[in-house]
């Protein structure tokens, strides 16, 4: 069960659990990042942090530390 931050650009996963600071978890929910959703890592910033992800029709930037609480099930490509 990898964390979202461990995915490389182009990889997709299904969110299994969202944990962490309540305010952070709530913000994830508000942005549509919740259990059962599919996420895709789109890009990494030049220094590897933060990461750009797609969830639904939104693009989000989140720091690795923040993405650490999101665990995903890798969806095989193709």
């Amino acid at each position: 069960m990898p964390a979202l931050a461990e995915l490389s650009p182009g990889q997709r996963g299904e969110v299994l659990s969202v944990t962490g600071d309540p305010a952070l978890v709530q913000r994830f929910y508000e942005l549509g990042l919740l259990e059962g959703e599919q996420v895709e890592v789109i890009a990494l910033a030049p220094l590897g942090d933060p990461i750009e992800i797609r969830v639904g029709n939104s693009r989000l930037s989140l720091r690795r530390a923040e993405a650490a609480g999101i665990s995903v099930r890798l969806i095989s490509e193709g």
Binding site: A23, Y29, E30, P50, N57, S61
Partner: protein, 769 residues
């Protein structure tokens, strides 16, 4: 029957086109509403439709009504009719993005819980159509229980239908029911509600239950004591035990509601098409290309505020000088004329001179924000800023501050987090701005760039001065974030909006608003500071014999004017006589004794106005204060004159150059002419005269004679770190809405500057030996 005035609030996610809709509806009839105790401003507009006047309030863009700060609470309180300044809205318009309804309707579902009539404005229908997304508005309205109106805010399409829907909703006055929460949640919230005897709206009680550690919880505990904490915790535990843990229960309930509506009303292509945003993002957030493009954009932006603004700023200064001279020529000498010319006209000029930089920076920021690039810039720079406790959003404000802290501080509005924003505001003045340059150039020219010293040394010293700001600012930021502005770690999750073409009208509006805000709100404070410092340097204006200095100076100047031609003639004759005669020509005759005496007298008279001016300023209130304060300046290696010049530069750093000129009897020197080869001859001569005068004056003194270089460095370090800039302080006051923060900024920067200058001088003295 409908009342003649309707209050309508506009709510939506950031980047939904909310402001565009607001502007399209209210046109130019707008004003800014301020709310005590918070830094948010909300725009209010007005329009009429069918004899009904609509007061429109544009609430700040937000993803949710779960308030986490006093700033966010203002919007919620306003919607609940709990702000004394505003009536409760009759209708709430929830604006959503047609291409992303699944997420945007989440906020709509919260708005539906407010107990107010709601109208959903579905914006960007053209973008949705381009992506093959089809919407059935009748089905959407039915499922949501509120009217949903398609609009294109940027083209003004659908506004008539929207205003009609708003009127009808107000007429009906019925609030939607919104999503149904689990039974257990409802009963838990109802039980909690009993605690407050109906004093707190149900909406807030539910928020307190859901938002762990949120603002509503903090506020209610403050009001009703710590006993409430235990009750909240036990209610939450009960919910968690039944599988309805907060905050997840809210997300699941609302998204289930949203999804059922979307499923009924939206048809999406099976495979989402690759959008322009995907293609552009592949380049702009690319690790290499994205970075190169970012650097190019930043270079262009920086260059434009640094260079393009210069001709405009110069023409403002020349205009101000011309008006000042015009007034001088028609008014008699006296305090009134001096107040008008040196206080008011000079003050207004020094306010207006910032406008070009502000307007150019805000044009850039408006374009970058409107097209969606601002968020990408913050994404690229986040890792660079995170070590000092800030986020990528602080990068552009701090970079802009290298040109000038004023537009830099004003641009911190892009930072939503209050503590991050305040930290950025407080360290922005440490960035080495262009007003420090004349001070550096003058002192480097006088003491560092001496014949015989290595040619790279002046450049190195200048570089070091810039590095002071770049080093100290992150350290101060980190300290502030750990102490004064300490708090729970902010959430840095940020949406990267779809790219959009910026609208010229919106850009011009942003420039206009920024310019107006600065000129009116900050301008008056700057003007007041200028007049106070002018008065301190003007009074008393009589010498020991009770004669007026300005009158004596004018008389001396008239005498100089009368004798200009004679002085020139004698000088030329004198020079000619000293030259070796060319071959075959007779030698020029030497000056006679009478002529020599006359030349001497005339030269003395020519220097008299500047000498009198120096004497006057040295005896002014500020001059005397400086003399009295000399012990304070001594550890920095300064004499009282340097101290007075530093104090007189409170309105703006570059003023020190002119004040040095006056105190060293060379007259008022234009700081722009220092080190500028293209300056006019007269200005250049004065600047050169000042360089020489500083060298000579310091050479006369045992301390500054021996330690000229350490003293010069100490003055430069002081100016690198101090906040001698009334405009910066005025803008900090405006942006933080409190005098506390500008006072703090001035205090901490002056302390840093003093300590830094002292360290520089003391170490320098040891090195020189």
């Amino acid at each position: 029957m409908l009342t003649a005035t309707l209050t309508v609030a506009l709510v939506g996610n950031p980047n939904t086109g909310k402001s565009t809709l607001f502007n399209a509806l209210s046109g130019l009839r707008q004003k800014v509403g301020n709310y005590p105790g918070v830094t948010v401003e909300m725009k209010k507009g007005q329009f009429s439709t069918d004899g009904v006047t609509v007061d429109l309030i544009d609430l700040p863009g937000t993803y949710s009504l779960a308030a986490r700060s006093p700033d966010e609470m203002v919007a919620v309180d306003l919607l609940l009719g709990r702000r004394p300044e505003e009536p409760r809205p009759s209708v709430v318009v929830s604006i959503v993005d047609a291409t992303n309804l699944d997420r945007h309707l989440y906020l709509t579902s919260q708005v539906c819980d407010l107990g107010l009539p709601v109208v959903v404005a579905v914006n960007m229908t053209d973008a949705a159509a381009a992506q093959g997304i089809k919407l059935d508005y009748a089905a959407l309205s039915e499922r949501l229980g509120v009217p949903a109106v398609p609009i294109q805010a940027n083209k003004g399409i659908g506004l008539t239908e929207l205003t009609k829907a708003i009127r009808e909703a107000a007429e009906k006055g019925s609030a939607p029911s919104g999503p149904a929460f689990p039974e257990l949640f409802e009963s838990g919230a109802a039980e909690l509600q009993k605690e407050f005897n109906g004093e707190v709206p149900a909406f807030l009680v539910r928020r307190a239950l859901i938002d762990i550690g949120g603002y509503t919880e903090q506020w209610l505990i403050e009001q009703h004591g710590n006993g409430l904490q235990a009750k909240l915790t036990s209610a939450r535990e009960k919910l968690a035990a039944a599988g309805h843990a907060v905050p997840g229960v809210e997300a699941r309930t609302r998204f289930a509601w949203v999804r059922s509506a979307v499923a009924a009303a939206v048809t999406k292509p099976a495979v989402p098409p690759v959008t322009w945003t995907d293609r552009i993002d592949a380049v702009l957030t690319h690790r290499l290309w994205g970075m190169l493009i970012f650097l190019a954009v930043m270079f262009l932006m920086f260059q434009s505020i640094f260079q393009w603004a210069k001709p405009l700023m110069d023409s403002i200064s020349s205009g101000q000088e011309a008006i000042g001279k015009g007034v001088e020529s028609v008014m008699p000498v006296g305090p009134l004329r001096a107040l008008l010319v040196d206080g008011v006209i000079n003050g207004v000029g020094s306010v207006l001179v910032f406008l070009p930089q502000i307007l150019i920076l805000f044009a850039f920021i408006a374009i970058l924000e409107d097209c969606g690039y601002m968020a990408r810039a913050a994404f690229l720079m986040d890792r660079v800023m995170s070590p000092c406790g800030l986020s990528g959003k602080s990068f552009i404000p701090l970079l802009s501050s290298v040109a000038c802290a004023i537009p830099g501080i004003m641009s911190t509005r892009v930072i939503e987090n209050r503590r991050d924003r305040f930290t950025t505001i407080l360290v922005a003045p440490l960035m080495s701005c262009s007003a420090r340059l004349p001070v550096y150039v003058l002192l480097i020219g006088a003491f560092i760039a001496k014949p015989g010293s290595p040619s790279w040394l002046p450049g190195l010293v200048l570089f070091a001065m810039y590095m002071i700001g770049f080093t100290v600012a992150p350290l101060v930021a980190l300290t502030l974030k750990r102490t004064l502005l300490h708090g729970a770690p902010p959430v840095f999750v940020m949406e990267l909006p779809a790219y959009r073409r910026p609208k010229i009208g919106a850009v011009l509006r942003r420039m206009w608003e920024a310019g107006k805000a600065f000129t009116i709100r900050a301008g008056t404070i700057i003007l007041a500071a200028m007049i106070v410092v002018w008065a301190l340097l003007y009074f008393p204006y009589t010498d020991a014999n009770g004669e007026s200095y300005p009158a004596r100076i004018e008389k001396a100047e008239d005498a100089v004017k009368e004798n200009t031609d004679r002085l020139k003639e004698l000088k030329e004759k004198d020079e000619a006589s000293k030259k070796e005669p060319a071959e075959g020509e007779p030698a020029s005759p030497a000056l006679t004794d009478d002529e020599k005496a006359e030349l001497e007298k005339l030269e003395e008279a020519a220097a008299l106005p500047d000498k009198l001016n120096g004497e006057w300023k040295r005896n002014s209130l500020l001059g005397r204060t400086g003399l009295w304060m000399e012990p304070v300046f001594r550890p920095l290696g300064w004499d009282w004159k340097i101290g007075v010049a530093a104090m007189a530069s409170f309105p703006a750093r570059e003023v020190i150059v002119g004040t040095f000129g006056i105190l060293y009897d060379v007259g008022d020197v234009d700081p722009k002419a220092v080190g500028d080869d293209k300056a006019e001859d007269e200005a250049k001569e004065k600047a050169a005269g000042l360089t020489k005068a500083v060298q000579e004056e310091w050479a006369k003194d045992p301390v500054r004679g021996k330690y000229g270089v350490p003293v010069a460095l100490s003055v430069m370090v002081f100016f690198a770190l101090c906040c001698q800039c009334a405009a910066t302080l005025a803008v900090i006051k405006r942006e933080t809405k409190s005098w506390l923060w500008p006072a703090f900024t001035f205090a901490y920067m002056t302390t840093l500057a003093y300590l830094g200058a002292m360290l520089t001088f003391q170490v320098g003295r040891l090195v020189v030996g």
